[in-house]
């Protein structure tokens, strides 16, 4: 059963809804963003919002393992990953990401349609949840889809990875806010995977640049059926 959280922290519902809205907004701004540094910063912001929302849920429901989740989020998404990314782009000296495969206004239009779809899909679920947090699932789904769209439209490796990480953020948000947290084991595992994945990404960036002289993934279209 879902425990009512309003008794412990009356504003918790509002806070989480607010966080959800900010997540969506950040998702959109990432979609529209061309500059890679700003992208990383937006990702950092998303991490913070995620942290706040998890913390809120943790405090309001008193689930201790969610506190751990919050701490992991803080460590990983706010501190570690942005730091690694910053270091990476400095080492690889990529600053700009001017090219997208689809122009920005069109991307935004598609994004809005995605949000509509996501909300529509989530409606039956939200109606079930019976809490004030009914919109979070929809928003989390929208975030995931927006990040997905961003992965499709970016032509450089680093933004693609950032989009991938943003997608994880959306998933985390869904996991914590809509369901009040997955079991601890799972969250730890997920976090570990993200961490290792990031390391591998890092290794890859260097390898790719060494082999292809660029991080433009359009170079990597050789394996195809011609």
């Amino acid at each position: 059963m879902i425990r009512s959280i309003l008794g412990v922290l009356p504003e918790a519902g509002q806070i989480i809804n607010l966080c959800a809205a900010i997540m969506l907004l950040l998702g959109f701004s990432m979609l529209a963003q061309r500059r890679i540094l700003t992208l990383i910063n937006l990702f950092l912001l998303q991490g913070i919002v995620l942290f706040v929302s998890i913390l809120t849920v943790a405090l309001s429901t008193g689930q201790n393992h969610l506190l751990w989740s919050a701490i992991i989020t803080l460590a990983l998404k706010v501190v570690a990953l942005p730091w690694i990314l910053h270091r990476l782009i400095r080492r690889l000296s990529v600053k700009w990401d001017v090219e997208t495969l689809l122009n920005i206004p069109a991307t935004m239009l598609v994004g809005i349609m995605l949000v509509i779809v996501a909300f529509n899909v989530a409606t039956p679920i939200s109606e079930l949840s019976g809490t004030v947090l009914r919109s979070t699932i929809g928003i989390a789904l929208a975030c995931v889809l927006l990040s997905f769209l961003m992965m499709i439209t970016r032509s450089k490796a680093v933004p693609q990875v950032i989009a991938f990480l943003a997608m994880e953020n959306g998933l985390f948000f869904a996991a914590t806010s809509a369901t009040y947290g997955m079991p601890m084991v799972v969250e730890l595992g997920i976090a570990l995977d993200v961490m290792i994945g990031m390391v591998i990404f890092g290794v890859f960036f260097f390898q790719i640049r060494q082999q292809f002289d660029s991080l433009d993934i359009r170079q990597m279209e050789r394996a195809r059926e011609e």
Binding site: S129, M167, L171, Y180, I190, F204
Partner: protein, 483 residues
């Protein structure tokens, strides 16, 4: 308990050990030995589960039931034979200067780690841990696919990583949705992600949520299974990685991903009480059978060719499970077994052939039968087996699948027939050209490893003519269990 510890513990410890000494001269033997121990553990575990029924361990987070115990055994077996095969194979690669000692260390360590993740994925009861293990399996194999660090292998690994990463993220969303639905029934302490518990209450789960969850899980794990149109990573990854890895990717990883889908399907079927999941699986299965068949004829790279063939077979299995019913489910399980055995055997043979010819280009490999009869016959018989020629076991499952299909879904059979025909024409034509003819290639510096190839083919042959009673019993139980 001890057996189970062996099964999970040995690969993990071996991974750590080989991370230290994986570059030494005896590392391939250590690798094989550890795999053998794992296999022994798996065998003991199987005996025990057959004798004493399902096993639940580690606070319900792990369990071994009829459905997964044989997959565990199969995984351990193929892992062991692959380790045997990789012994001469990787030595030759080292001789050719394609991998450095450091890379050998990475290879051996990651190989064991990969085995570990797959065994965890198979034996876990927790859908969350299943996800984690699948992701970990992806990560380890990404490193293995990129082992050669050539542009092509990096490209393949990158595509594999991104596509499977994104796919698996969808699966996570699906898992969250299941949790969301289950928590309302089981409560957050009640182990809402534990499959056994979910299975017990599956009819109470909210159908709309579960159908959405299944879509995400299906797309997610389906990417890893290689269902069309989510399959694009698969041929690249198969072609560019070291051949032992192609063998385990095809033979094991795809199975594990499919296993995850089946587990979820059982829940969804219970909750929905309609054929939503079945129809989805049948549709995608059919598509996945047809499309790769048409790719096959244009392949120039031998490993890519068999990569597409794996996709096709995954489609066939998915279709079989989609049809459901005792016969089709049994056929699906049988096909999983024989496909992994046959396909890995083929990759073993292909690996040696490609090493002899110094190329994976089909047109440049000729007259294998003359240069190395074992490799030549292995490849020929393997290809015939995978194409569904009796008396090999692949035929058995295809027989059951096709006869069930024409009985219950006759509209699907022309499609299957066309696909199987086209696939036969393509694969057999290419393999025949490689095996027969006047040789243009030279023998290897190390003896090829015929044992793994012929062990697998022998098992497949046996399954075509005679299914041992306990195995049959397992198939029957598991088939009933899938519903």
């Amino acid at each position: 308990m001890i057996e189970f510890g062996l099964v999970l513990g040995i690969p993990f410890l071996a991974a750590l050990l080989l991370a230290v000494c994986g570059h030494s001269r005896r590392a391939p033997e250590i690798n094989a030995l550890c795999s053998l121990l794992t296999l022994a553990g798996a065998a003991l575990l199987t005996v025990r589960v057959i004798g004493q029924g399902p096993l639940v361990l580690f606070e319900d987070h792990f369990f071994v039931d009829p459905l997964n115990v044989f997959l565990i055994a199969l995984t351990a077996l193929v892992g062991f034979t692959t380790a045997l095969f990789s012994r001469p194979y990787m030595r030759v690669e080292q001789e050719y200067g394609r991998v450095s000692p450091n890379r050998m260390r990475l290879y051996h360590s990651m190989f064991q780690m990969f085995m570990c993740t797959m065994l965890v994925a198979l034996s876990t009861n927790n859908l969350g841990i299943l996800w984690v293990a699948m992701e970990a399996a992806t990560l380890t194999t990404v490193l293995l696919v990129a082992l050669y660090r050539t542009p092509a292998s990096l490209e393949a690994a990158w595509k594999y990583f991104i596509l499977c990463g994104v796919g698996i993220a969808q699966a996570l969303f699906g898992t969250i949705l299941i949790y969301f639905a289950a928590e309302r029934v089981l409560g957050s302490e009640g182990g809402a992600l534990l499959w056994t518990q979910l299975d017990a209450v599956k009819s109470d789960l909210e159908p709309t949520v579960l159908s959405l969850a299944f879509v995400f899980l299906f797309v997610g794990y389906g990417t890893k299974t290689g269902l069309v149109p989510l399959h694009n990573w698969l041929p690249d990854a198969h072609a560019e990685g070291p051949t032992p890895i192609s063998a385990v990717l095809s033979g094991l990883l795809l199975n594990v991903a499919l296993y995850a889908i089946i587990r979820c399907k059982v829940l969804v079927d219970g909750a929905l009480e309609n054929s939503f999941a079945s129809n989805l699986m049948m549709a995608f299965g059919l598509l996945t059978v047809v499309v790769p068949a048409f790719y096959l004829s244009r392949q120039k790279d031998i490993k890519r060719l068999f990569g597409y063939s794996s996709i096709e077979h995954m489609g066939l299995i998915t279709f079989a499970f989609g049809m459901g019913g005792p016969v089709a489910n049994m056929a699906g399980l049988l096909h999983m077994t024989v496909h992994s055995l046959t396909k890995s055997a083929i990759f073993f043979a292909v690996g040696h052939a490609a090493q002899m010819a110094h190329t994976q280009v089909i047109d440049d490999i000729k007259g294998l039968l003359k240069v190395s009869p074992t490799v030549g016959w292995g490849l020929m018989l393997g290809a015939l087996a995978i194409l569904g020629m009796p008396p090999f076991g692949v035929f058995t499952s295809e027989f059951l699948i096709l006869t069930t299909a024409i009985k219950h879904y006759p509209w699907a059979t022309p499609v299957l027939l066309a696909a199987l025909g086209v696939a036969f024409a393509a694969i057999f034509g290419k393999v025949q050209a490689m095996v027969f003819g006047r040789p243009v290639i030279k023998p290897l510096p190390y003896d090829p490893a015929p044992f793994p190839v012929f062990l697998h083919l022998g098992l497949v042959l046996m399954l075509g003519l005679w299914v041992p009673p306990y195995l049959a019993e397992w198939y029957r139980q598991a088939a009933k269990f899938i519903g």
